[in-house]
Amino acid sequence: MADAKVIDARGSFCPGPLMELIKGIRQEPVGTVLEVWSSDRGSAKDIPEWVARAGHEVVGNVEEDGIFKVQVKKVK
């Protein structure tokens, strides 16, 4: 996993983690990598779907001790 700006959305339910990512990605320049931390299993699948549709790139997606960490690179 690359160095990334962490969005800690643990404890938030769907679509909370995705919302946090959407808000965060709009504020960052192209090339930024954001890492969303979520305790919500659905978000680990939802976020990559949104990222693909929005034209960004998932560069990492792991589970560590029940926390799903999805890294997203802003590409446009």
């Binding site: 679509p15 919302m19 959407i22 549709r53």
Partner: protein
Amino acid sequence: MGDSLNLMLLSGDYAKIHAAAMVALVASSLGQPVNVFVSMEALPAFHQDLGEREAIGKGPIGQIIAETASPDYVGLFSEAKDMGDVHLYACSLVADLKHWELAHLVPIFDDMMGIAGFLGKVSGGTSLTF
């Protein structure tokens, strides 16, 4: 995305209204225009008065969502509007029956109109009913 997403909120079921708000938010975030017509049992869910809002029905899942989800459906619709091309319209029939003006509703509506007016605005795209 070019075609609009048109949502008809008719049910007074909390979970359905919350689901519609999530759909609007995600579609908006992806650049899809969203039009929402709020009518029948759903309109009281958007009254300024908390007592009116809390009278809407909650099934077992709706109850959990109401207790745990933040933001609630009003907040989700507000976020969707901030994010993209999202318009909400309140049904004038229900408003007339309840003697409500637009000012009685939470400030997320663009206008109040009848179904003909709404259908005139959304001549294309995908329509979903909640």
